[in-house]
């Protein structure tokens, strides 16, 4: 038990170091990029004196290392600065929109698993037959689809033309839920509004599917390869000889043994999906951090861009820590292996 804690502490430490380096990279990025921050912050019509005042106000006249420490200090207080455009706190702006993105990504991950798992099982069980080849081909093709294009095409086809799904937004026009967590679905659930829950979920089906599809291939491939590896083991032949078949084979042998690398892939997908959500949110009118970032970019709202990029980095680092912990809890072999080293 003590060894587990030591491992966790060490893993937490590397995460913190990674985060510190991340802040350093982003700080450097802001510094080396051409353009005067004080000028930007003071506004286009500012006089030289105002720019100078802003420079002192922002502490830009001090040496870089001092500025970096101050930057870290502000981050420690959760202060990401003020948006040049809206004059609002960037941290609270991002706190408003981040849950929306996380919800979208979680839904997309669910859809990804729902597609990848059965297809991988079928492929593994019917290896090298026509079904397997067709699935593998489909997966290759789907991983090359540009997300923003897929979003536009499916939105036009399934929502605008066929009317199967809502065109955009997180909820229907007359549906509201009191905000508690910021995750619309969870908020609807805890306030007991089942109608809103269904409506919110319905709005997320198409965006979630679009976000999931290009990432499904990797999970499918990992699961298929692992399951085929398991199927080639002699104990599977022994189990089959004993008459074990179908569902028991899949549940008892294939899934538990393929879960390890699948969880790693799913974990890595989380970060990539947060990035790709930028493209999906803008098409489907979802007010997430991607939309926040795109707007900040369009408005040249430099500090808001930095804040959003930083928060996304933090979320990704945190998620990879969580994945490692999940692996540790799940797989006793891993626990033993890591503790031995």
């Amino acid at each position: 038990m003590k060894q587990v804690l030591v491992y966790l502490a060490r893993r937490l430490f590397t995460s913190v170091v990674t985060l510190l380096v991340l802040t350093l990279i982003i700080f450097t990025m802001v510094k080396v990029i051409p353009g005067d921050e004080a000028h930007v912050a003071a506004g286009i019509s500012a006089t030289p004196a105002q720019v100078q005042a802003m420079r002192i106000h922002l502490g830009l006249n001090r040496p870089w290392p001092v500025q970096y420490l101050e930057f870290l200090g502000r981050l420690g207080h959760g202060d990401l600065g003020t948006s040049i455009v809206s004059q609002n706190s960037i941290a609270s702006g991002i706190r408003q929109v981040l849950p929306e993105t996380i919800q979208l990504v979680l839904v997309a991950m669910l859809i990804m698993i729902v597609i990848a798992l059965p297809t991988a099982i079928i492929s593994a069980l019917r290896r090298d037959r026509a079904t397997d080849s067709a699935l593998r081909m489909g997966v290759v093709l789907s991983s090359g689809l540009p997300i923003f294009w897929l979003a536009l095409v499916l939105q036009y086809l399934l929502s605008t033309r066929l009317g199967w799904f809502p065109i955009s937004g997180a909820l229907g026009p007359h549906v509201t839920v009191p905000r508690a967590t910021g995750l619309t679905l969870v908020d609807a659930l805890i306030s007991g509004k089942l109608g809103a829950l269904v409506d919110g979920a319905y709005h997320l089906v198409l965006p979630g599917f679009v976000l999931a599809l290009p990432f499904t291939g990797q999970l499918y491939r990992t699961l298929r390869t692992d399951m085929i590896g398991v199927l080639d083991q002699e104990y599977i032949d022994a189990a089959r000889a004993k008459g074990v078949s179908g569902a028991t084979l899949v549940w008892r042998h294939l899934l538990p043994n393929a879960a390890g690398s699948a969880i790693t892939v799913i974990g890595a997908t989380f970060g990539m999906m947060i990035g790709a959500a930028v493209l999906v949110e803008s098409v489907f009118g979802l007010n997430g951090i991607g939309e926040y970032l795109t707007n900040a970019v369009a408005n040249s709202d430099r500090f808001a861009v930095v804040g959003a990029v930083l928060v996304i980095g933090v979320v990704v680092v945190a998620s990879s820590f969580v994945v490692d912990v999940v692996q540790l809890i799940r797989d006793p072999r891993l626990r033993a292996g890591q503790l031995a080293s």
């Binding site: 991340l22 991983s143 095409v153 990035g275 795109t294 959003a308 990029v309």
Partner: protein, 288 residues
């Protein structure tokens, strides 16, 4: 392989069919890559001049024999714009991958010869840079540099190296324990020379496979940057910019959005599969 199995272990007919099928697929992949490259180099030269000028009288024509992919809202031929657009989408992807591969190789090399502290520092930086999704990193950087294809190219070149660096460093570590490398070290060859003469050349085949696939995924990212407004700007025929322009009138002319997207998908998949083809060829070459 156990013999208890009820499946036939080798089906000669199936095996032959698969091999032929794969060879055919490989040829198709190489052919598509060559066509895409041809369009990238010569597309803008052979396309009619009218692809950048507007001709409202011909606007929003559906696909027909005279306009294979139809025309857009400015009356420009979508087929020729897709052909000419290959240059911006594909050549810039190749350039970006080339630049960041060099950066990644340098960082991995320095990390592996520079001793423990240098190694640890560089790998922490790599990990941190990997924590930011490529698209977001590129978006932040390109936004700061101002919109345009040039910004997108710089941004992606500067931010794309971490995965290459990580991969190459682990390959270098693996290769370094090979007997012939240890032999060279014993003979007194310097670390840098061992790296340059033995380790790097032997790590190349993994990297070449990765580069091919990277070109595919970079085409995706470049077009995505155009879509969010920081890459190529209209009226450029870059594929992502074409999709962006087309979305405004998708209801009256779906073809202006559809075809550039399919072009992106085909180019991406072709380059990704090219990686597999190269890998097969390399492993066959080794066997001989």
């Amino acid at each position: 392989m156990a013999t208890l199995t009820s499946r036939p272990s080798v089906d000669i007919r199936l095996l032959r069919k698969r091999l032929v099928g794969n060879r055919l697929l490989n040829r198709v992949v190489v052919a598509v890559v060559l066509i895409v490259l041809f369009c990238a180099v010569f597309g803008p030269l052979i396309a009619p001049k009218s692809i950048t000028t507007s001709n409202i009288r011909d606007a929003l024509r559906a696909p027909s024999l005279s306009h294979w992919f139809g025309t857009d809202d400015q009356g420009r031929d979508v087929f020729w714009r897709v052909v000419a657009g290959a240059r911006e989408s594909v050549l810039s992807a190749i350039l970006i991958v080339a630049v960041y591969s060099v950066i990644g190789t340098i960082i991995a090399s320095v990390a592996s010869v520079g001793g423990r502290v240098v190694d640890e520092t560089l790998m922490r930086i790599t990990d941190a840079a990997m924590a930011i999704p490529t698209l977001i990193f590129g978006l932040g950087f390109a936004a700061a540099l101002g919109p345009g294809l040039r910004s997108a190219i710089i941004a992606l070149s500067v931010t794309g190296w971490p995965v290459t660096a990580r991969l190459l460093r682990s390959i270098i570590q693996e290769t370094s324990t090979m007997p012939y490398v240890e032999g060279a070290r014993v003979l007194g060859v310097s670390r840098l020379d061992v790296l340059r003469r033995h380790v790097l050349p032997n790590s190349l085949d993994v990297l070449i496979v990765k580069w091919a696939a990277d070109i595919g995924s970079t085409i995706l990212v470049i077009s995505s940057l155009s879509f969010v407004g920081v890459g190529s700007q209209p009226p450029s025929p870059e594929w992502g910019a074409m999709v962006t322009e087309g979305q405004g009138y998708i209801a009256s002319a779906w073809w202006a959005t559809l075809w550039p997207g399919i072009a992106i998908a085909i180019a991406t998949v072709a380059f990704a599969l090219l990686g597999d083809v190269v890998q097969t060829r390399l492993s066959q070459g080794k066997k001989r």
